[in-house]
């Protein structure tokens, strides 16, 4: 597949701790194509934010470091790139929206200064041109009276507006890839809907690829072209949104979808009784308890002897586009061959 904009190959990230090296990303492989939305799903600590930081080489180092693997951006390996080159890439070709719009804006600069900064740096605009462009960006992300807002400070804006400012900053240089790390978690659903509309619209206009990190399966269904599910530092399932959500190949993905309360539950309930929600038993194992084999086996209803011994590779589920790292598919494959 050479139409991929970004290819991540066998990425390993480790952190030095008092207890030794902790491997927080363990062989992550995926790719993003131009103009698509790839959603990364998983519980806290599964490595989804770490993956995003690794792409931009923003992992705090020390204690963290990329131990091995490649991040190929238009055939250039960013893992090996110089720090100067990374500064050209960040905020310019690949940019990021963080989860907390409150803490990721600088409180002592106006929003216009902050949006203009990347334009002055990367596009070489002078202060006046950068300001005009900042006004234009604010208008595009749907902030009313942008000429006035451009001179305001972050504390004068609501949460939804701050997140729009973050998006305006991230998109100012028309990046090829936008990484959005839970961009709406801190926001209300009506504002979330506005932000999602905005991202879709900007994507349509500019062909930006979006890597959307989320834990909300509803948001995945709404936004994703493709989905990648992570668990304990590995990618355990990948496929198109339709494949993963309606025919999940990994027991963990199935569990995540089944344990969600969905709208409409009261219409189905008889006489006010409600069903118990399906649960995934137990908790995510800590990084020190992983041992050998599949990290999900302790919580898995289908665990077999083999699961404790060998880490399952990615098996094709239905067609090449959909894969799941689960031994169940090896069995199916063997049965089909026999």
């Amino acid at each position: 597949m050479n139409d991929a904009l970004l290819r991540v190959q066998d990425l390993h990230v480790e952190f030095k701790t008092r207890r030794g090296q902790a491997l927080v990303l363990n062989g992550v492989d995926f790719e993003i194509r131009g103009g698509e939305t790839l959603c990364v799903v998983g519980e806290s600590g599964c490595g989804k934010s770490m993956t995003a930081l690794a792409l931009l080489r923003l992992i705090p180092s020390p204690p963290g470091r990329i131990r091995s693997g490649r991040v190929l951006f238009q055939d250039e390996d960013l893992v090996a790139a110089s720090e100067a080159r990374m500064r050209e890439v960040r905020g310019n070709r690949i940019s990021m929206i963080f989860q907390e719009p409150m803490t990721s804006l600088n409180p002592v600069f106006t929003v216009g200064d902050q949006i203009g900064e990347s334009l002055r740096l990367h596009a070489g605009l002078d202060a006046g041109a950068a300001r005009r462009r900042a006004v234009e960006m604010l208008r595009q992300v749907g902030i009313p009276a942008p000429e006035r807002r451009v001179d305001e400070y972050p504390h004068q804006l609501s949460g939804g507006m701050r997140q729009r400012v973050m998006i305006a900053m991230a998109l100012a240089c028309r990046p090829d890839i936008l990484i959005a790390d839970e961009p709406t978690t801190a926001l209300d659903v009506t504002v979330q809907a506005q932000i999602f509309d905005l991202l879709r619209e900007l994507q349509r206009e500019k062909g930006t690829a979006i890597l959307l990190i989320t834990h909300d399966m509803g948001a995945v269904a709404e936004m994703a072209d493709r989905v990648m599910v992570m668990y304990a530092g590995r990618v355990i399932e990948q496929g198109t949104a339709g494949q993963v959500l309606s025919e999940p190949g990994h027991p963990y993905t199935r569990g995540l979808i089944d344990c969600l309360p969905e709208l409409g539950s009261s219409a189905a309930a008889e006489g006010g009784m409600r069903d118990e929600l399906a649960e995934i038993a137990g908790v995510v194992p800590s990084i020190w308890e992983l041992g050998s084999g599949c990290a999900f086996r302790e919580r898995c209803p289908h665990a077999m002897a083999r699961c404790a011994v060998e880490v399952p590779p990615m098996f094709a589920v239905d067609g090449a586009a959909h894969g799941a790292a689960c031994w169940l598919h090896a069995e199916a494959l063997e049965e089909a061959l026999a």
Binding site: D188, F196, A221, G255, P261, G272, L277, V283
Partner: protein, 343 residues
């Protein structure tokens, strides 16, 4: 508006919580933030009332006022036969055994230097419930009831996961055998896989112990799953109040409809997103709320009269109350003025 049945446990009548702000300059009047502005509801014993709304709608302030953890400006709060709103000092302290709260953040709501067992035991000691031996027994029983092992009492909060910490919070809230438990976004900070465990636990405890929940949340799917009745707040006021099935089958207030339509669902996906009702702008400031309907400025179906006159909360179907002048009742059936187009 409040009908005091014999099975009503909590009754809140015209509750107002206003916070004065510091003066902004010479000669300017002090501004008042009307966080909760005339809220009334009842909760039947053993049932769950969910209060939903967006940030700043006053749902948490309502919960804190019921707990007497925030100052009351006016209004009445009754728990059974007790007038909670007027209790002071020792009487209030004693009444607190009957109502407890579970907070949103399982990380900041436990003292990091206190062992889990001591945290659960603390309410028993403070309220002088039973003998020390009975307290130990009670803590053991509570740990078991919430799905923790008794030997985990000796661990500190950082040695637990978020879900387990929320279990400790639940055990602590249940220690004094409360009648009313206020749950302030108890699962919002938890991972989705853990959410189901905690929601099931809360439902089981309610069944077994006959607990009454005031459940604060912004997650409509969670609310639909857990509640018996729902109240939707917008800018300090209840705009709609109804039994669960009635509300989720047919939300009436345009804000409720917009809120429901904004929730992304797995089954709805992009089709749903395309038919969403789009609200523009942000809610107005609670400092100087508009005189009419507080949603009028963002409402897609507002009329000129909406902006001038605050509509009352009126009952349009059995138990279904709505604060909107555009809801008509045709042939006994209330008609929502705004509807999400189903595909």
């Amino acid at each position: 508006m409040t009908c005091m049945g014999t099975d009503t446990l909590l009754s809140v009548d015209d509750l107002k919580v206003h916070f004065p702000r510091a003066r902004q300059g010479w000669g300017r009047p002090a501004e008042v933030v009307k966080a909760v502005d005339g809220v009334s509801f009842d909760i039947r014993r053993g049932s769950t009332l969910a209060v939903v709304g967006e940030s700043g709608s006053g749902k948490t302030t309502t919960a804190l006022a019921v707990m007497r953890l925030s100052p009351l400006t006016s209004g009445r709060i009754r728990l059974g036969d007790t007038d909670l709103g007027t209790l002071q000092g020792e009487a209030l302290r004693r009444a607190r055994t009957r109502l407890q709260i579970i907070f949103q953040d399982p990380f900041s709501s436990l003292n990091p230097r206190e062992r889990a067992g001591a945290a659960v035991r603390a309410p028993l000691e403070l309220m002088k419930v039973g003998t020390p031996a009975q307290r130990t027994e009670r803590v053991n029983a509570l740990f078991e009831a919430v799905g923790l092992r008794p030997e985990q009492q000796h661990l500190f909060p950082h040695q637990f996961s978020g879900g387990q910490r929320q279990r400790i919070n639940i055990a602590r809230a249940l220690a004094t055998n409360p009648e009313l438990v206020v749950c302030d976004e108890p699962v919002s900070a938890l991972d989705i896989a853990i959410r189901a465990q905690i929601l099931n636990l809360l439902a089981r405890l309610q069944r077994e112990l006959g607990l009454t929940y005031l459940f604060i949340s912004h997650d409509m799917a969670v609310v639909e799953h857990i509640c018996d009745d729902i109240a939707v707040m917008y800018l300090g006021q209840i705009v709609e109040r109804a039994p669960r099935r009635s509300f989720f089958a047919r939300p009436l207030h345009p804000y409720s409809v917009a809120l429901m339509s904004a929730v992304p669902t797995v089954s709805g996906g992009r089709r749903r997103a395309a038919h969403r009702i789009r609200l523009s702008g942000d809610p107005p400031s609670p400092i100087d709320p508009p005189p009419g309907c507080r949603f009028a400025g963002r409402c897609p179906v507002a009329e000129p009269a909406c902006a001038t006159e605050l509509p009352p909360l009126r009952e349009v179907a059995p138990g279904h109350w709505v604060r909107c002048r555009r809801v008509d009742v045709v042939g006994g059936l209330p008609q929502p003025p705004l509807q999400m187009q189903e595909t």
